[in-house]
Symmetry: C2
């Protein structure tokens, strides 16, 4: 993976004018992150803006009792959490490579601030990029707002199907190429690993989903939507 390929994989960078890109390139750092390795940890000083070039990353908050919440599941092309970087504050979440390998590209805060300060299409692109993230976060809040775990799981899986699903080979269902443990599902849906296991086992038994190595298949997407949308 080289810098040119990485820039092409990230919408914000792909859309930069050549002048801006050439100005930023000396400051870009591209690195590979092993599976389960952290890109940053909670309380680390923030310094760079981070783009996800390839692979999957989860952003995790941990409360003082030790309970973990996956706040966001990021996908290739995404700009990762910016609030700490903008605020010159330590990170309030961790970011972890979900499955590997993961490639990330970082650009120092100073250089992005210079870029935005110059205005132009780059500043507008940043605005649009970060407003897209806002929409996804509000969607997550809505997903989490049902009092029934099965509905929360269904809402999450529907969203993953929408955003990352492809047709399964053999034409049966929707393939989600993301390797989530039951613990990950529990952390995404605000429940315990035992309950997440029971929900997935029940959905499998009912022929709604099928777990697989390296991802899962949604066999009955309409049923899942129906579960997610019930009051």
């Amino acid at each position: 993976m080289n810098l040119a390929e990485a820039c092409r994989a990230v919408p914000f960078l792909r859309e930069l004018g050549e002048t801006e890109r050439l100005r930023l390139e000396p400051h870009m750092r591209l690195r590979q992150v092993a599976r389960s390795e952290a890109i940053w940890n909670t309380d680390d000083a923030s310094r760079d803006f981070t783009f996800l070039v390839d692979g999957r990353v989860k952003l995790v908050k941990t409360n003082e009792g030790g309970r973990e919440t996956i706040v966001e599941l990021c996908r290739p092309g995404d700009l990762l959490c910016t609030s700490a970087v903008c605020a010159f504050a330590p990170y309030c979440c961790s970011s972890l490579a979900l499955d590997g390998p993961v490639w990330v590209l970082t650009i120092p805060r100073r250089d992005i601030f210079d870029l935005i300060e110059r205005g132009g299409a780059a500043a507008l692109s940043w605005m649009v990029e970060t407003s897209g993230r806002e929409a996804r976060l509000t969607g997550r809040i809505e997903q989490l707002s049902s009092g029934h775990v099965e509905r929360r799981v269904a809402a999450l899986l529907c969203d993953l199907a929408e955003r990352a699903g492809t047709s399964a080979s053999g034409g049966a269902g929707t393939w989600i190429p993301i390797q989530l443990t039951r613990q990950d599902l529990a952390d995404l849906c605000g429940t315990t690993v035992e309950t997440a296991i029971r929900v997935m086992t029940r959905l499998s038994r009912e022929g709604v989903v099928r777990s697989a190595a390296r991802g899962l298949v949604i066999l009955n997407r309409e049923k899942l939507l129906e579960i997610a949308r019930s009051i």
Copy 2:
């Protein structure tokens, strides 16, 4: 309420240079919104960026089964939901005045895009403003991630105390000057109105909170924090 007062009440506008402010002022619209009236509704076309000048606004998503989620409780000075405006898309949530009167100031999308495109401190301010909102939304996701309703309610009330609380007169506890119905609490915490009522009744009985007209008092903030933080 006039335009100058409104600009002073909104951090992003207050920090604009005079040149930029003068350029924007002809396009600003300041209006009052009655209690429970919508500023916009779901599926309305988006056109303007909206700042909350005074009062409280809730942003509500409604799923197809009719269940409502309060995605965010906005406070004076906040920039309201930008994702639809940036995406030239219809709104995917409603915004409602929580108690009245509420004052909002709108600026057409075109004019803010021009402002950001020109760069400078205004573009940087926008960046910081929207990253602050991201932090609040991820905090909301963490609040919602416990499987116990009482913990979710406690987490919400602690957050409200932090962000809007003042010392109660007579020195007893923290006064939260926000008039939330039990249904509002339920919609904020992903539960039903009956359960929200039971939780608040129990917390009142235990001397942790006291409901009042136009808001509530947190009598035992440490106890509430302990509930919120338990695993």
